[in-house]
Amino acid sequence: MTRRFWVFIEQEEGKVHPVAWELLGVANKLAADIKDEMASTGEEAVVEGILVGHQVEEIAKEAMQYGAHRVYVVDDAAYKHYLNKPYYTALASLVEKYQPEVFLIGATTLGRDLAGSVATKLGTGLTADCTQLEMGEPKGSTKKLLLATRPAFGGNVIATIVCKNHRPQMASVRPRVFPMPEPNPQAEGEIVREQVFTDNGVINAEIIKIIRNEASSAKVEYADILVAGGRALGGPAGFTMLKELADELGGIVAASRPCVDAGWITYDHQVGQTGKTVRPKLYIAAGISGAIQHKVGMQDSDFILAINRDPDAPIFDVATVGIVGDLFEVIPAMIKEIRAQKEVEHANT
């Protein structure tokens, strides 16, 4: 028997969402987790990608470099743009045909719209926003199941969820929760073209207009350097100062939830439980107290530099290095220091 680990390969207009490659990395780890079980039963574990769209087959080849052994492609003009019902109908019919054991979907706006619909259509369990995934033995079971771990109650507790009697075991994962696997340019696999029956009943909504605002939409989840501000900024003007520092560093500005709730900056900058999960190389937290809801969204950053007036602020518990001080003194001094360093470097070259 083949035990299938599925990953939904999210794309729009031929652009893949990187979370799909992150999930292929995780799926390969899950397949490795059950090696011991397979040795005794003679089963095989495969990682397979599910790709839906129009003229998207090139993406399937890329998926193999990131760890898909096989990719099922549903390619039709009807799938040019994402729409809920056509997509969930296609995915549910593929699941019924191939009976995967695990199905992972990125917790993006598209993925969240889709995952809950697919799970309901199939009558199976779905665990949202997982931060850890492994195949292991839950309480009272000797067979390995998907142990899906996620923060609950605003990150105050960590819960591990299992789905014992229904398949597939579904989970959604936010972008950047798992690292990007190294692509292997030599990797090969199989492309399986799937015809999914669509009739008019499947299309119950139409897109009448797309309003592109890419310039104004911050992509905090994939930035290398983030300069994030909290309540202590006191107002929208504080972000102008943070932007100056971010520009010097080649990074972008992020924020904690109170700033977004107060309307100082837009939601696409928000980091934390109800915002984005980030793992930049450098995260500068200025005037962020460090509520658990914020920490769960940024604690996996490579280096966290926190600035806060309160030496007991919880942000210092996750910071790599902290400076106790007033951000309105520290940030301008940082800008000055970086400019000075740049001049020295410039003089040396």
């Binding site: 809920n84 993006t108 706006t109 598209l110 719209d113 809950g116 619909s117 799970a119 309901t120 199976t124 369990g125 779905l126 949202a128 926003d129 839950p138 142990l147 609950a152 109650f153 605003g154 105050n156 507790v157 960590i158 819960a159 591990t160 299992v162 789905c163 119950n204 909504a205 139409e206 897109i207 009448i208 207009k209 309003i211 592109r212 890419e214 939409s217 290398d224 350097i225 560093l249 080649g250 109800t274 190389k281 450098l282 280096f303 966290i304 530099l305 030496p311 518990d317 996750v318 910071a319 790599t320 290095v321 902290g322 400076i323 106790v324 001094a333 220091e337 970086i338 360093q341 470097e345």
Partner: protein, 278 residues
């Protein structure tokens, strides 16, 4: 007639949650509960359209008897009717079981008083799953529009709605036949100030209470723990990170910054902090 139904949830205020450090369990006693903030904006949108088109707004919630407080808050905002679905048999429901109960409730209401719009908040702040709205739309086979930010038009004669939704890549305007199901961002509508009559009415308001048997007989295989494919295997406290070095500037802020930058450079992430990422 315009008839909007809003599905709401009463949630613990997650910013004020306390956890028992020994057991990792939520200390429910004394934790304030609130109407889920996204749901409040969905109610506000429904009331706004009722004021434009006439008709009525019904609010539905599955939860313990104390949920009556959240329902009264919706009445105060201008909703006309509340239904509380409350029974111990529902407890332990995951998102699939919850979507079953809400879908059957909405189906029953729709048969008697046909619905134009069904509104949900985009997610509840205690679970953050955003799964129940999509689940209900699948069960009822109503078109789904998630992350709604603007309701441009509700056309009752021709039977469609146009809604702008916000995705990670762009905003898009969707046209869908009625009844349609929307999950709402806060931008969908401002919370209105309560009128005095609504406020007075809400104080004494008693919602209709539905149980697992009446007026809808729910299938016991699909409700509560039994109807939930997912279960909690274990609960733990979040891992504590190793506390880093905290610099208390004694020799001035400039020295503290230099020291901090040296540590960033030493971590090997950058060739140097002023030179950008490696």
């Amino acid at each position: 007639m315009f008839h909007a139904l809003v599905a709401i949830k009463q949630v613990p205020d997650t910013t004020n949650i306390r956890i028992d450090p020994e057991t990792g369990n939520l200390i429910r006693q004394g934790v304030p509960t609130i109407l889920n903030p996204y749901d409040a904006h969905a109610v506000a949108a429904a009331v706004e359209w009722k004021r434009k088109l006439g008709g009525m707004v019904t609010v539905v919630s599955m939860g313990p008897p104390s949920t009556v407080t959240a329902i009264r808050e919706c009445i105060e905002m201008g909703a006309d009717k509340g239904v509380l679905i409350s029974d111990r048999k529902f407890s332990g429901a995951d998102t699939l079981a919850t979507s079953y109960v809400l879908a059957e409730t909405i189906r029953s209401i729709h048969e008697k008083e046909p619905l134009s719009l069904i509104l949900f908040g985009k997610q509840a702040i205690d679970g953050d799953t955003a799964q129940v709205g999509p689940g209900v739309s699948v069960r009822l086979d109503f078109p789904l529009i998630t992350y709604a930010v603007i309701i441009h038009d509700v056309n009752l004669e021709e039977g469609y709605v146009t809604v702008e939704r916000k995705t990670e890549r762009w905003n898009e305007v969707i046209k869908a036949p009625l009844p349609a199901l929307l999950t709402c961002e806060k931008e969908i509508a401002e919370i209105p100030y309560a009128s005095l009559p609504d406020l007075i009415y809400s104080l004494q308001y008693e919602p209709e209470t539905w149980t697992a048997e009446s007026p809808v007989l729910f299938d016991v295989a699909h409700i509560g723990l039994k109807g939930s494919p997912t279960m909690v295997n274990k609960v733990t406290n979040p891992e504590k990170h190793a506390r880093g070095e905290v610099i208390q500037p004694k020799d001035g802020i400039e020295e503290a910054i230099k020291l901090a930058f040296e540590k960033v450079n030493a971590a090997g992430i950058f060739s140097s902090i002023s030179g950008g990422a490696k």
